[in-house]
């Protein structure tokens, strides 16, 4: 099947314009780029269906003369979905404008902070930094049910001063914060 010159050129032009706009920081232009990309993709799908034919409706012609119905079905839903998604993007633009008087794709502060190496939220998993009752391994969860943790600790400290309990489990009996 011989392709036409017109359709690839139009497809290429729409993609180029769409991508140029998509790379902008203004959300409105991003959305316009998204619409152009949608149009370009729909046209690309259509052009893969082959040469133009009659409308794919039985009775209008012999099955051989009809155009390919499959890309058309794909495009049809794509058109409506593009509408739904652009409405959503418009709502994003409006909300962004209403709340912060801006409609730009901002720089992700979180990413920047991580990239800068300031580990504010990198990890707090070092068990040594945690209070004994938060240590990972199983300490007695019902030990001294009627007493507060601090009371239990004091009690144990008095009774077993100087004796280490097992590695990680029971509250510290060595006195003082760990």
């Amino acid at each position: 099947m011989t392709p036409t010159v017109v359709l690839p050129v139009v497809i290429g032009g729409l993609y180029a314009a769409g991508i140029y706009l998509l790379l902008d920081r203004s959300l409105t232009r991003v959305l316009l780029g998204f619409l152009l990309l949608g149009n370009a993709t729909n046209l690309l799908l259509l052009s893969t269906g082959g040469v133009a034919g009659l409308a794919p409706i039985l009775g209008l012609g012999e099955p051989g003369e009809l155009s390919d119905p499959l890309p058309q079905a794909l495009i049809l839903t794509a058109i409506v979905i593009t509408f739904g998604v652009s409405a959503f993007l418009l709502a994003v633009i409006y909300r962004s404008w209403r709340l912060v008087r801006q409609e730009v794709v901002g720089v992700d502060e979180e990413d920047r902070r991580v990239a800068a190496g300031r580990r504010t939220d990198a990890d707090d998993l070092d068990p040594d930094d945690l209070a004994p009752e938060d240590r990972p391994a199983g300490h007695g969860d019902h030990l001294g049910r009627d007493l507060s943790d601090a009371q239990v600790e004091r009690l144990l400290d008095q009774r077993f001063a100087g004796i280490a309990s097992d590695d990680v489990e029971l509250p510290s009996t060595q006195g003082g914060p760990r």
Partner: protein, 956 residues
């Protein structure tokens, strides 16, 4: 067997409800389910010991060849009886363990029952992948049970640790299962064991499966999750971490041993790790002061023991292993339950604080001592029989390698001595009077009632009875053990008394050694303290996790620079480099070209290109939107020229709607778009965009020529009429041939519509539908809550005079009904002519747009006084319901039926699907109008500033 599993599932689902009705007594009802399962399993005893396996196969995923293949043989029966029996008793125990109105009991009951079901599935599964599913189910429920309600950090961490370790092992196991079932050519365990494959894949696969087993059964070096899991309530410890879940690894090794124990690497791994675990666990148990932790390390130790026995691959050791598995489940859950009773009664589990409890709770003391004696291997309890059998077997050379057998024997005797010592430490710690402590410390606040003691008592007595009755177990155990080769000269039978023989001496030796260790416990404790190092597997685990975290931060920091254009640019460069080079070097470029299909096509193409070029240049918002609209309309014309009337219709409608939506929002935004890019950036963007344009143009050009197969759509015309009953092939494709796709797409529309509304209404999902009422101008003297019905388009009176348009109002009056009727026409005629649910819905949406533009926001509410969410939901129900109804009457999902109505008139069921699509599209348009139109109007009219309350967060 399937019905037992379904029963568990139903019980788990109903458990929260039962707990709400009956409080903690609901556990007694739930216990009936595993009890019934236990009864059924035991009823099969005769058949199974007779050599007949009970099998059941239900088709599950036929495409993948997956079946729910269940099999009850001697091994499965033993484990199933344990799992269900102990499960029932633990549930009974729960009925007293929890306070009458403790929070979260319903959730706990559901998880525990579901766990019992998963565990039963695990031991019954004959298909390796079903086994894997059950394996991971037990992991998940264990996570939920350890973590509890998730309000305690230690619990969450212990749960997370257990989950990470066992899931990691589980994944390794999955890979291993795939490898060995592939190498053996079957994924049924029974066939796999009977006829295992060979080769490297088999060896690697087997080792990977073992990784799963050793993590699940808490072998060194992954043992530490089990003590940490003692965060869970005691019934969970007794059931999951003593009787059931940790036995999964033992079960798997026992299941595979008949076929795989001769695979290179099996014996070193299983015996080495098992023995190490037994010694490490016993050693660590000796220095625990928390009774539960003492038992936990004891469990680790015993699991090592079991692993050695069942993994050895000889008949005599395997039979000892199975007896020991039963014995361990009985005595260890008893001990945990006993600790639970003590904890419940006194609130203390620390053996340094308990004193003289034996006198005050004699029943508990008897039960606990009985179980501990079984653990220590004292005659005449079941633990003794198991240990005797193991020692005898090894003495007689129960392993192919004589030296290994002696080494293992020495290790087992040492491990048994440790076991005796910590059993004694347990009994002494829990019940004895200790010097230096008050005789009755601490107070017994709640004496346990008989139901609370029932479960541990039954389990302890079973361990006692099963000892003398050991020979009766012989048949069952032999049913499994006979699948393994006998290495010793003759098979020993299970019995209490074998006469004076070496194993008895070894037993006595371990008892004496244990007693000695216990006698000098003070010095042992001090020595252990001195030897204890800061390095532990647990610390290493957290260090590894920390390292991972750091690595993640590093990776994120290097790759994520926080700029969307930069990310997009990276993606585009990759696209250019990879598919681009394929296109340049490998693509079948067409030999000849046509200029165009028709001159009109070329003309429209030029218009579209010019509009696209303008869209880049224009900085005025509205104009930019208009030129993009031009490309859309141009596309519509191209569709029409290509022979796609449905597309052209839809494209025109959508383009119009998009324009209206844009205008609704743009009125709130400044006129021009600010330029934020430096010229250099624009050049880079231009280069990227230009190259991508070239690439995609090339793709468009070669797409036709690179076709190698006949398109699927060749048969569509015939199928459309024959099965879909329609002449419009595109529409039939949408509602029938590819209806699943459409269902997904309309779901997406629902999500988008919901998203629009959620973004615009700052604080809530929906606004009430505001209709023109008495308190609004325009309603005049009418006291009714809504606009008078006699006049039409009355709400336009609510608009300020300068915003009204007489022409638009007149046109709306004339056209609105016509448009709505037309939209319905499109909906119904779409099956045979251009139209359909999408086009019809869009036309109806446009009618609403007209009403809104002419009459303002109150008129919109008058035109469609429904919540758009209702339209969306009903639409989805219609579309999905069509599929479900088809399924209910025995057809395929979303299959179309053609029903004769009257003469030539037929009803095609896919019409209902199309109605759903229609409703959803109308709902979408209405949601957009209501949010971006009416709500913005309201904010305008009422000046609605965003006053955030202190502490309120609005996401932006």
């Amino acid at each position: 067997m399937t019905f037992l599993l379904v029963l568990h599932l139903l019980a788990a689902l109903g458990a929260p409800l039962l707990v709400r009705w009956w409080g903690r007594q609901a556990f007694l009802g739930l216990a009936l389910v595993p009890a019934a399962a236990c009864g059924w399993v035991l009823a099969q005893l005769g058949a199974v010991t007779g050599g007949d396996d009970v099998r059941e196969t239900t088709s599950w995923v036929p495409v993948l060849g997956l079946d729910v293949a269940l099999r009850l043989d001697a091994l499965a029966l033993t484990l199933a009886a344990l799992v269900t029996g102990v499960g029932a008793l633990v549930l009974v125990y729960c009925a007293r363990y929890f306070a009458p109105d403790e929070e979260g009991t319903g959730r706990f009951a559901a998880c525990l029952t579901a766990f019992a079901g998963s565990m039963l599935l695990l031991v019954l599964a004959d298909d390796v992948f079903l086994l894997y599913v059950a394996w991971e189910l037990t992991t998940v429920f264990s996570f939920l049970l350890i973590g509890g309600a998730g309000n305690r950090l230690a619990g969450r961490r212990a749960a997370g640790q257990a989950l990470v370790l066992t899931t990691a092992g589980g994944l390794a196991m999955l890979v291993g299962l795939v490898l060995i079932s592939d190498a053996s050519g079957t994924h049924l365990l029974s066939e796999l064991v009977a006829d295992p494959g060979d080769g490297t894949a088999m060896v690697v696969g087997t080792l990977l499966v073992l990784v799963g087993a050793i993590t699940k059964s808490a072998m060194v070096p992954f043992h530490f999750w089990l003590p940490a899991a003692m965060e869970a309530p005691t019934p969970v410890s007794a059931y999951l971490h003593a009787a059931a879940m940790v036995k999964a690894g033992i079960y798997l090794v026992a299941r595979l041993a008949p076929g795989l124990s001769d695979v290179p690497g099996w014996r070193p791994v299983v015996l080495g790790l098992g023995l190490t675990t037994m010694l490490v666990g016993g050693y660590r148990a000796l220095r625990q002061c928390d009774l539960k932790l003492l038992l936990a390390f004891g469990t680790v130790s015993q699991l090592g023991f079991l692993m050695v026995l069942v993994g050895s691959g000889s008949r005599e050791l395997a039979s000892a292993g199975l007896v020991m598995t039963v014995a361990h489940a009985l005595f260890k859950s008893t001990l945990f339950l006993t600790v639970g009773v003590i904890d419940h009664a006194t609130g203390v589990r620390d053996l340094r604080q308990l004193s003289g409890l034996g006198r005050r709770l004699p029943a508990v003391a008897v039960i606990g001592t009985l179980a501990a004696a079984s653990m220590a291997g004292l005659p005449p309890l079941l633990g003794f029989i198991g240990k005797e059998a193991a020692l005898t077997a090894l003495w007689n050379g129960g392993l192919p390698d004589r030296t290994a057998a002696l080494l293992v024997l020495a290790g087992l005797v040492a491990g048994s001595a440790l076991t005796v010592a910590y059993s004694a430490r347990f009994v002494w710690g829990a019940f004895a009077r200790k010097p230096g402590l008050p005789a009755a410390s601490p107070e017994v606040a709640h004496a346990p009632d008989s139901l609370f003691l029932a479960a541990p008592a039954v389990l302890a007595v079973l361990g006692l009875v099963a000892g003398p009755a050991g020979p009766l177990l012989d048949h069952l155990v032999a049913g499994y053990a006979d699948t393994l080769p006998l290495i010793a000269p003759e098979a020993e039978h299970l019995a209490l008394w074998h006469g004076v023989q070496p194993a008895l001496g070894l037993s006595a030796l371990s008892l004496l050694g244990g007693a000695a260790l216990f006698a000098v416990r003070g010095r042992v404790f001090a020595l252990q303290q001195r030897l204890s190092s800061r390095v532990s597997a647990d610390e290493s685990y957290w260090n590894v996790l920390q390292g991972l975290d750091r690595l993640a931060v590093l990776t994120t920091g290097t790759t994520q620079r926080g700029s969307l254009p930069a990310y997009l640019g990276t993606i585009l460069v990759v696209v250019l480099a990879l598919p681009g080079s394929v296109l340049v070097f490998r693509a079948p470029w067409p030999g000849e070209w046509r200029a165009w299909d028709s001159p009109v096509q070329a003309l429209v193409g030029v218009v579209v290109l010019i509009a696209a070029g303008l869209a880049i240049r224009i900085r005025q918002r509205l104009s930019a939107v208009l030129v993009v609209g031009v490309t859309g309309y141009g596309l519509g014309v191209l569709f029409a020229l290509q022979g796609a009337p449905d597309l052209a219709l839809t494209q025109f409608l959508v383009e119009t709607l998009t324009l209206v939506t844009f205008v609704l929002v743009l009125r709130k935004l400044p006129k021009d778009i600010t330029e934020r890019h430096r010229p250099r950036e624009r050049v880079v963007r231009g280069l990227l965009a230009g190259s991508m344009g070239l690439l995609m143009a090339g793709v468009g050009a070669v797409a036709l020529a690179s076709r190698t197969a006949t398109p699927v759509s060749v048969d569509y015309p015939a199928e459309a009429y024959e099965f879909g009953g329609g002449k419009n092939i595109v529409n039939v494709t949408l509602v029938d041939i590819r209806a699943w796709d459409t269902l997904g797409e309309i779901s997406l529309l629902v999500v988008a519509a919901t998203g629009v509304a959620s973004l615009v209404f700052l604080r809530r999902r929906t606004g009430a539908v505001q209709r023109a009422g008495a308190d609004h101008p325009g309603a005049g003297a009418e006291p009714a809550a809504r606009a008078p019905r006699r006049r039409w388009l009355t709400a336009s009176a609510t608009l300020a005079p300068h915003r009204r348009s007489v022409v638009l109002e007149v046109v709306t009056r004339v056209l609105f009904h016509t448009i709505v009727v037309f939209s319905l026409y499109l909906l119904f005629s779409g099956h045979n002519g251009p139209g359909g649910g999408f086009a019809g819905g869009l036309v109806a949406g446009l009618a609403l747009v007209l009403r809104y533009l002419a009459g303002g926001r109150y008129e919109l509410a008058e035109a469609a006084p429904v919540d758009p969410g209702v339209l969306l939901g009903v639409g989805l129900l219609f579309a999905g319901g069509t599929g479900a109804v088809g399924l209910a009457v025995g057809a395929e999902v979303l299959q179309t039926a053609i029903l004769p109505v009257l003469g030539d008139v037929k009803l095609v069921t896919s019409l209902f699907f199309d109605v759903g699509v229609y409703l959803i599209v109308v709902g979408l348009v209405l949601d957009v109008l209501r949010s971006l139109g009416a709500e913005l109007d309201r904010a305008d009219d009422e000046g609605d500033p965003i006053d955030l309350n202190p502490g309120e967060v609005v996401l932006r």
